[in-house]
């Protein structure tokens, strides 16, 4: 009987799929039916409703306009080309039973109701496995609520083309401990956010053009590693969370109004290592972190380069320790907002300092450590820290003039912002992998040739008419 059932279902599904012509889709119903009445009325829904625990439902290619609620532990596995379309309303898949797998679907077109948080896939039971799906045009992407031990892996999640304030989160965890978020690609969403979820691993994901690449709220013992967060407003933002490990992530060009590569607000017990922060507004932003100062905030082997500001400290921040980091060509290497001091933070520890691209000393004994301490005091920077609007004069000759005065006249020289007694002479190697930008040597060579050639041409060949005329005239005379 069950076999017959299955065969029948398969035939039905196949017929449905064959009838689907993507060019001749019926227009949506003029009145949107209520979501609840719509649940499990479609072809997949019927099958899900009637399935028994442990069933594996394979869904052939086709467009399925339906909303599904899974109340039995089962696996819903798409064959290539299986598309579930929410028709612009409500959630699309709700997982209400533990141990459910949803795999390989294209899931698209949720509603846009922010209050109801319309999601592509919502799990409200533990141990969901959501993998290799492509979520398109969704308000929320994958939403785990009280879904402990779930795995979200290999999904592509793209938000709706809405104003950022009207978007939903690409991935959201709410009280879902020990989840694994791995190898997902999230783009054009609001945030990927973890609320009250402990022991999470976030690994190998990319988040681009979102608001917050990854955002932790009250989530302890979280590891973020090998992620790439680029072109977001903020790369990774940790709030009120403890026991955080952030390792080998690449945070690139996060330049929203706050624009941090990595921001830490009242976080505690964190280790930041081997990350790459490039071209953000601020590489790292520290606000009240570490929150309790028994355990230092550890920053080691990070490369913080080409940011407007390498490290931004709010005034009372203390208890961070920086060793073996590269600080390369940040417009301002370290800044402290407002009046405050960096005294409670260490920019070197025991025998180990950092690499500072603006270090002016040398290394006569060739031990790799500069012979003079690296002291950062610049008059202009301290002015700018106090009056941020003066940044508009940055890069002007007046900046150097003021620096020069600061060096020449000890009376106006500000206190050193910080000191590194054992600065490195060479940068440490980057282990987080490189961002996908290569030197365009060919282009640059061509540019050089064109410029030099053009310049020389103008300079040397500015005389043609008279010369030629004279030469021919003289020839005629001879």
């Amino acid at each position: 009987m069950r076999t017959l059932h299955a065969i029948l279902f398969t035939i039905l599904l196949a017929a449905h799929a064959a009838a689907q012509d993507p060019h001749a889709m019926a227009p949506p119903a003029p009145t949107t039916p209520r979501v609840a009445s719509n649940i499990n009325t479609g072809l997949i829904g019927i099958r899900v409703r009637t399935a028994r625990p442990g069933d594996v439902i394979r869904v052939p290619a086709g467009i399925y306009r339906e909303h599904i609620r899974i109340e039995t532990p089962l696996s819903l596995v798409a064959e290539p080309g299986a598309i579930i379309d929410g028709d612009g309303s409500g959630d699309i898949i709700e997982i209400a039973a533990p141990d459910v797998t949803v795999s390989g679907f294209v899931i698209r077109n949720t509603g846009i109701d922010l209050d109801k948080e319309n999601a592509g896939v919502r799990a409200i039971a533990p141990r969901a496995l959501i993998e290799n799906n492509t979520l398109e045009d969704i308000l929320f992407g994958i939403d785990l609520r009280d879904a402990h031990d779930s795995i979200v892996r290999g999904n592509r999640i793209g938000g709706k083309d809405l104003d950022i304030a009207r978007r939903g989160d690409g991935v959201r965890l709410w009280r879902s401990d020990r989840a694994l978020i791995e190898n997902n690609h999230i783009h054009d969403g609001r945030d990927a956010v973890l609320w009250y979820s402990q022991g999470i691993t976030v690994r190998g994901n990319t988040a681009i053009r979102c608001r917050y690449g990854f955002h932790l709220m009250y989530s302890d013992d979280v590891t973020l590693e090998d992620n790439e967060v680029a072109h977001n407003s903020v790369g990774i933002y940790i709030m009120y969370s403890r026991g955080i490990t952030i390792r080998q992530n690449r945070m690139i060009r996060n330049r929203g109004p706050s624009g941090y590569g990595l921001g830490l607000k009242e976080a505690d017990r964190f280790t930041i290592e081997n990350n790459l922060m490039v071209a953000n507004r601020a590489g790292v932003y520290l606000d009240g972190s570490p929150f309790s100062t028994q355990v230092p905030g550890v920053f080691t082997r990070n490369t913080i380069a080409f940011n407007d500001v390498g490290l931004t400290f709010l005034p009372a921040v203390r208890g961070n320790r920086f060793t073996l980091n590269n600080f390369i060509d940040n417009v301002e290497q370290v800044s402290i907002l407002g009046r405050g001091s960096l005294k409670g933070n260490e920019f070197w520890h025991e025998e180990t300092g950092n690499y500072w691209s603006d270090y002016l000393g040398y290394d006569q004994n060739q031990d790799g450590v500069g012979d003079f301490v690296h002291e950062s005091y610049t008059l202009f920077e301290s002015l700018v820290d106090r009056h941020p609007k003066l940044r508009i004069l940055l890069f002007s000759p007046v900046e150097q003039a003021i620096e020069f005065v600061g060096r020449a006249v000890p009376a106006v020289r500000p206190e050193p912002k910080f000191i590194d007694e054992v600065p490195l002479m060479r940068p440490i190697a980057i282990e987080s992998g490189r961002p996908a930008q290569q030197a365009d040597r060919v282009g640059m060579t061509l540019t050089a040739l064109a410029m030099v050639g053009g310049g020389l041409g103008l300079a040397l060949l500015s005389r043609p008419v008279e010369r030629r005329r004279r030469t021919s005239a003289t020839g005629g005379d001879a």
């Binding site: 330049r255 380069a305 080409f306 390369i328 940040n330 004069l393 060579t445 050089a448 310049g455």
Partner: protein
């Protein structure tokens, strides 16, 4: 020896003089050639190229060849270098031009030919602009060569933008220099005034802005508007806006500009630099047309 028969009948119908464009170009070509052989041109080109080279070399070394790019010190340093050298070049070259010719008695002779004063002024302006193009192209070209060799990840496009904007700045300053030149009686006075204007534009106005921002608590929109009147600041903001980073590097005022004007920034900066090119030149030509060339 070919001798001209003294009493041969002479055709006394004068040739029609060439038009504005032809004469302007003839004078421009001459001026360009004269300029590129002059000491100032060679000196400036060398200074520009050597400073740029050492700058790109040092910063490429500091980056450790990591292949990282961003709006870093190489670009910032080049912007800075241009801000110092290019206005000085433009102002002194312009200031020396007409006043120098007047002092050498060349101007009378040239103006006694069938040319108009506009043609002479424009021709000199174009010729000197050509020399400045050559100077900037050689200097930045040398930097580009070092960057290519060192694998600096700066985009070629940003360097080309920088070149183009430097030229616009140079032409604006040249225009201002020529206005000084037309007004001054002596070449030494003209060049001195040019250098003074350079100091004012490079340092004094910015210091005044700083003082204003702190003491008078200028609002950011006022600060931004004030910066639009200084061609150096416009050049700087435009190169940041166009080349690599966004204006938000420049803090709240830059952010305000980005949010308020967005895509219009190109037009705003362009209009400001264009005004610096065109207005002094128009003023110079009006004054030049009225003044005796001796």
């Amino acid at each position: 020896m070919t001798t001209f028969p003294a009493h041969a009948p002479i055709r006394l119908a004068a040739c029609p003089p060439p038009g504005l464009v032809a004469n302007t170009l003839a004078i421009a070509q001459r001026e360009l050639r004269e300029a590129v052989r002059s000491r100032w041109f060679i000196l400036y080109t060398l200074a520009f190229a050597v400073l740029g080279l050492s700058l790109s070399y040092v910063t490429a070394a500091a980056g450790g060849g990591m292949g990282l790019s961003g709006f870093g010190r190489t670009t910032a340093g080049l912007v800075n270098l241009v801000l110092l050298v290019v206005p000085l070049m433009g102002l002194t070259a312009g200031a020396g031009s007409i006043a120098g010719d007047r002092e050498r008695g060349m101007l009378t002779y040239l103006l006694a030919q069938p040319v108009t004063r506009t043609e002479v002024l424009l021709g000199k302006y174009l010729g000197l602009s050509g020399a400045l193009i050559a100077c900037i192209a050689l200097g930045l070209g040398a930097c580009a060569a070092i960057m290519a060799w060192k694998g600096d990840a700066t985009r070629p496009a940003s360097l080309i933008w920088l070149g183009g904007l430097s030229l616009a700045l140079a032409m604006g300053m040249l225009s201002l220099g020529m206005l000084v030149s037309v007004l001054a009686r002596k070449a030494s006075v003209a060049v001195g005034t040019g250098v003074f204007l350079w100091l004012v534009l490079v340092f004094a106005t910015d210091l005044a802005l700083m003082a204003g921002a702190i003491a008078m608590k200028l609002r950011i929109e006022e600060l931004f508007a004030a910066c639009l009147f200084n061609p150096l600041q416009v050049f700087k903001m435009w190169s940041l806006h166009a080349a690599d980073a966004s204006l938000d590097v420049l803090g709240p005022a830059g952010l305000y500009a980005t949010e308020e004007f967005g895509a219009w920034l190109h037009a705003i900066f362009g209009a400001s630099l264009l005004a610096w090119i065109v207005l002094p030149l128009i003023a110079a030509s009006l004054i030049f047309a009225r003044r005796a060339p001796v």
